[in-house]
């Protein structure tokens, strides 16, 4: 088990290192290089040379890369140019992180809470109207672009029927105490119930929009996996032994069928990160995704650097955790 974890950790380090090289190469390949990005319109040959020397760009590439790594490890990625001009890029990320964590968590919760029971039900009643309907719904769910789901929800629930707020994270003029930066949690912790409710209202539509794709995927995997397990020899054996349906379902079917589902849930984190970019920008929900959308559009490279590295690291770490959890659940994996 420990060897397994160590091996996966080493693999992860390689991935992160290669990523850092890519980000480094990426910054170097910018049109005109970082110097042009900084100087913009004001550049002259003298200024360029001076700045290049000051930034160490006249050094050989490996030296530059090591310096880049050194600064990156210290959390120094430069200063935002567009998203929040003048603000430290890492700080922008840290400020925006709680909002996205809150949003993604709720979205994943919705997807899991609906996807697994529905997938199980569809598999057990295979071929029924429930099954067919749910399968069609999940196929359509995958074909609808996330930002259009967001747009639809916003149009009907916020604009037409006026049930929920149109955009943002909290109503303006609401004086709420900040603790974690996750507004709903803050409201609960400080017992400011009106603030918590207000933040939750702002969170519902983006979370539902963001949940559609993970829901569809988790539903499909659960259904396929349960169907597969139902056909297994050990289920037949259990039936032959005379175990009650209830015991068979709980101990044999559900437990075994959940294995692939666990991995899938971990993988959805990647989709949530990309989905957050689109959803947050539709709802002007000021999280990491919204910052990324602005940074992509306005070419705020220091912020992009941090956000891309962070997104990839989060994705890799989550998948590592899932793999470990998986190895704990299923002993067969450790031996491979």
């Amino acid at each position: 088990m420990i060897r397994f974890v160590i091996r996966r950790l080493l693999q992860m380090c390689v991935v992160v290192l290669v990523l850092s090289m890519l980000v480094f190469a990426w910054l170097r390949s910018l049109p005109g290089g970082p110097v042009s990005a900084i100087l913009g319109e004001r550049q002259t040959p003298e200024r360029r040379a001076a700045l290049e020397a000051a930034l160490g760009l006249d050094q050989p590439l490996p030296v530059q890369y090591l310096r880049f790594l050194e600064r990156a490890v210290q959390g120094n990625f430069g200063v935002s140019t567009r998203v929040l001009p003048g603000e430290d890029a890492l700080q922008v990320f840290l400020d925006r992180l709680p909002a996205t964590v809150e949003l993604s968590f709720l979205a994943l919760l919705l997807a899991v809470a609906l996807g697994i029971p529905l997938g199980y039900l569809a598999a057990r009643r295979r071929g029924s109207a429930t099954d067919t309907g749910a399968v069609i719904f999940s196929l359509v769910g995958i074909a609808v672009p996330v930002f259009f789901t967001a747009f639809l929800l916003k149009y009907f629930f916020a604009v037409e029927w006026n049930l929920l707020p149109v955009s943002g994270r909290q109503s303006t003029g609401l004086d709420a105490t900040r603790v974690t930066g996750m507004f709903v949690l803050d409201g609960i912790l400080t017992r400011e119930w009106d603030a918590a409710w207000d933040a939750l209202e702002h969170l519902i539509l983006p979370a539902v929009a963001l949940a559609t794709i993970p829901f569809a995927v988790i539903f499909r995997i659960t259904r396929a996996s349960v169907l597969d397990v139902l056909d297994e020899d050990y289920v037949r054996t259990a039936e032959a032994k005379g175990l009650t349906t209830r015991v068979i379902r709980a101990r044999h079917v559900l437990r075994n069928a959940m294995l692939p589902v666990v991995t899938t849930i971990g993988l959805q984190v990647g989709g949530l990160l990309s989905g957050a970019v689109l959803t947050e920008s539709v709802f002007s929900f000021r999280g990491v995704g919204d910052a990324l959308a602005t940074a992509f559009r306005e070419k705020d490279y220091p912020v992009l650097q941090v956000l891309i590295m962070a997104a990839a690291v989060i994705y890799v770490v989550v998948n590592l955790l899932v793999d470990i959890a998986y190895a704990v659940i299923d002993p067969r994996i450790r031996t491979r």
Partner: protein, 337 residues
Amino acid sequence: MPDPHPTPEHPRPDRPSDAPDHPTRTTYGSVRKARIDSLAAAGVDDRPGVSLIRGAWQRLRRNPVFLIGLTITVAFVMLAIIAPWIAPWDVTARPLLDKVRPQTNPVPGPEAGHLLGGDDRGRDLLSRLIVGSRQTLVVGVFATLFGLLGGVTLGTIAGAVGGWVDSLVMRIVDVMLSIPSLLLAFTIASLARSPSQWTLIVAIAVIQVPVFARLLRGSMLAQRSSDHVLAARSLGVRPRAIVFRHMLPNSLGPVIVQATLSLAVAIIDAAALSFLGLGNPDQRQPEWGQMLGLAQKYISEAPHLAFYPAGCIIVVALGFTLMGESLREALDPKSRR
């Protein structure tokens, strides 16, 4: 490092599987990888009898899901081809310009000669929708084609040469798969100095390369140890001929199925990029994703401006998905019962 998913040489036909995309129980890395690999394994079938393709066709012919998907796809491609001739108005002309009132009526409604009305610049919406199918098709097809070419090249090299070349190529592929794919596409597209439909195509092609590479390599490895390759080798056929005449043609099946599914994803991803403003900014060439992005401004006044292009994207993506899913099911030897 040993491959975490050794491709089974003989898929067990006795294990029925309803959905072939479900991950194998021994998932170790990612489901994505496992799915690609299981798809690769599905391409190998040594059992005699009806040929895989004929058997697949017999099942597909009577499969309503496949037929619906095929109908949508064919209709979409035909529409894209004849678009300029059936669009009632020029997409750059602004016949409804005098009806646009920025304050009171920013988007002209339907009227005689303009079935769906106009957009915020007084252009005919129906014409732009019809002609928009072209860009969507071009972006989807080229992105998938380039991704396919890149992936097939890498996968062939890895699968045919083996050894350290294989390890190197697969590690690169793994790193690419370790970044959320749409984020990678956003990043690549944002690098372009002047965004156009080609930067969009390149961005989406790049994220498809690792999928195809892994898929093809899996198939090639499975082919490598199969009987017909052994026979060819013992007959003294040159390695190059074995790779290109025996292994590659037999490995392409699952790759082509994946390409159908990738096309749907490519169209949706392209729309997402356009929506973020990373696509083609040139409005003289309408594209559904771009139209959808521009419609956001008028969510309360004219939501139909978003509904139509989004509806088109959904229907087309669904068409390719239905076709690809049923193709995959039909070509999967496990589902032959």
